[in-house]
């Protein structure tokens, strides 16, 4: 998870310390979500309209 997050964020212009902090935060959040949580949150976002 952390390596994938690094790939998503590396080179995005953030300072290294900020990026490392975000990676740790997201990896920790992902671990705390159950499969049912993840499914529910994905289902809700899928219903959200997005203006361009």
């Amino acid at each position: 998870m952390e390596s994938r997050l690094h790939l998503l964020l590396d080179g995005d212009g953030r300072p290294d310390a900020e990026r490392a902090s975000l990676v740790r935060l997201m990896a920790a959040v992902a671990q705390r979500l159950s499969a049912a949580d993840a499914k529910a949150v994905a289902a809700w976002f899928a219903t959200q309209p997005v203006d361009k």
Binding site: L7, G11, D12, V29, A40, A42, F45, A46, P49
Partner: protein, 164 residues
């Protein structure tokens, strides 16, 4: 004679200006016809809406920089995907930027979910997305990804209208 030569040079320069190679890669063409791989639309849909049933994400309206970074990561192998790597490898940087810009310019749409979520599930998802669950140290998704998951380009990708 001098006038004729000038006219010929002007015509020649004009023809160079209209050479397709000068225009750069055509993102729509790559998306719909492919370039060394399967056309993007074969999996991500005619309008980049994605496919919930197939697990292919919606690309329409996503931030161009974000899409470019993902394609470059698939190409380099930094982000590993046996499906996307062969599609990204034949694309050079200009082609990647072109196809990313094409999808960024499409109106955001999403596929219909394969299974309609229950009201309880949507309520649980909404609570997590908008309020988080601080008892478990889970922050609200929208704190970074914006209201409704609109995304904060280019740093936080859009989550709203994404295939679940």
């Amino acid at each position: 004679m001098y006038k004729t030569t000038l006219t010929a040079v002007a015509l020649l320069l004009g023809s160079f200006a209209q050479t397709p190679a000068m225009a750069g890669p055509d993102g729509k063409q790559i998306a719909t016809q492919g370039q060394g791989g399967v056309p993007c639309m074969a999996c991500h849909g005619d309008h980049g809406q994605g496919s919930d049933a197939g697990g292919f994400p919606s690309l329409a309206g996503m931030d161009a920089d974000y899409l470019s970074r993902q394609l470059l990561a698939f190409k380099s192998g930094g982000r590993q995907s046996p499906v996307m790597a062969p599609q990204a490898k034949p694309l050079d940087e200009a082609a990647i930027k072109a196809v990313a810009s094409y999808y960024a310019g499409l109106p955001a749409v999403t596929s219909k979910p394969a299974v309609t979520p229950s009201a309880d599930e949507l309520q649980r998802g909404q609570a997590l997305a908008t309020q988080g669950r601080w008892a478990d140290d889970i922050p609200a998704c929208v704190q970074c990804h914006g209201p409704g998951g609109r995304g904060i380009a280019p740093h936080f990708p859009r989550l709203g209208a994404a295939a679940a």
